[in-house]
C-alpha cells in the first residue's frame, strides 16, 4: 500500500481484507455456476438459453473479479485518508443479474417438468 495518510484501525483494515476475499469467493461461485450451467446435458434446457444463462453468470463473475482488487485498494486508501468509502455502483447489477438467472432457470425447470 502506498504510505499516505494515517494507518487505519487494524479492525477496518481486516474488515476490508475480508470484503475483498468475499468478492473473490463470490466470483468463484458465479464461475462455478456458469460452468455447471454450460455443462448441463443438452436435453435439460434449450441450448441457446443454457449458453445465455452461463454467459451471464460468467460475465458477472468477471465483473466481481475485476472489481475486487482495485476496490480493495480504493477502500484502503479512503480509510487511510479518513474519507468516505467509495460507492459500489454495480451492486444492483449483481443483485438483479443473479436473481434474473435464478428465476429464469426456475421457470425453465418447471416448464420442462
Amino acid at each position: 500500500m502506498p504510505v499516505e495518510g494515517k494507518e487505519p484501525d487494524p479492525r477496518f483494515t481486516l474488515a476490508n481484507e475480508r470484503t475483498f476475499l468475499t468478492w473473490l469467493s463470490t466470483s468463484l461461485a458465479l464461475s462455478a455456476g456458469g460452468v455447471a450451467m454450460a455443462a448441463l446435458p443438452r436435453d435439460v434446457f434449450v441450448p441457446w438459453v443454457r449458453t445465455a444463462l452461463a454467459v451471464v453468470l460468467v460475465v458477472l463473475s468477471g465483473l466481481a473479479a475485476a472489481l475486487a482488487y482495485p476496490r480493495w485498494r480504493q477502500v484502503q486508501r479512503a480509510l487511510r485518508q479518513e474519507k468516505p468509502l467509495p460507492r459500489l455502483a454495480l451492486a444492483p447489477v449483481f443483485g438483479y443479474g443473479v436473481a434474473a438467472v435464478a428465476v429464469l432457470a426456475l421457470i425453465l425447470i418447471v416448464l420442462s417438468g
Binding site: M1, E17, A29, T51, A54, V58, A65
Partner: protein, 156 residues
Amino acid sequence: MIPGSGRDGPGGAPDRTGGVRGPGGGPRNPADGARGSAGEQPEEEAEGTAPWGAEGLHSERTLLAWIRTGTALAAGGLGGAGVAARHMGSGPAALPFVLAALCGAVLLARTHLRHRRLESALHEGKPLDVRADALLAWLGVLAVVAGAAAFVLAAP
C-alpha cells in the same frame, strides 16, 4: 489501536474491569501510553490469552476467510480442470484451472505464515500488508474466470 493512528475503532471493546479499551486492547486514550509499553500490560491478562484482545477475533475471522478462499480456489481449480478436460478433451482448456488450483495451494500453504505475521504486526502496532497474497488470490480467480469463459463459449 496502532500507536499514533489517532483512530479508535467502532465502539471500543469494554474490558473486563468495566472500562473501555481501544480496539487493540490497549488504553483508549492515546495519552495513556503506546501499546507494548511497560505500564500498559493489563494486570488481569490471563496466561495464554492474546494480548490484543478483540482484534484477535478479527484476525481469526480473516484467517478463516483466507482459508475459505484458498480452499475454494484449489477445489474450484481442480474441479474446473476435470470438467474442462472431460467436455473439451484438450489440455489447454484445463490450463487456467490448473493455474488457479496452484494459486489456491500456495495460499493455503502460506496460511500459517500469513497469520503469524498478522498477529505479530497487530502486537507490535505495525502496518498490515498482505498485498502479495491478495495479488496471488486475485490472479487465481481471474484464471478461473478466464477458464470458465473459454469453457462456456466453446462448450459443445
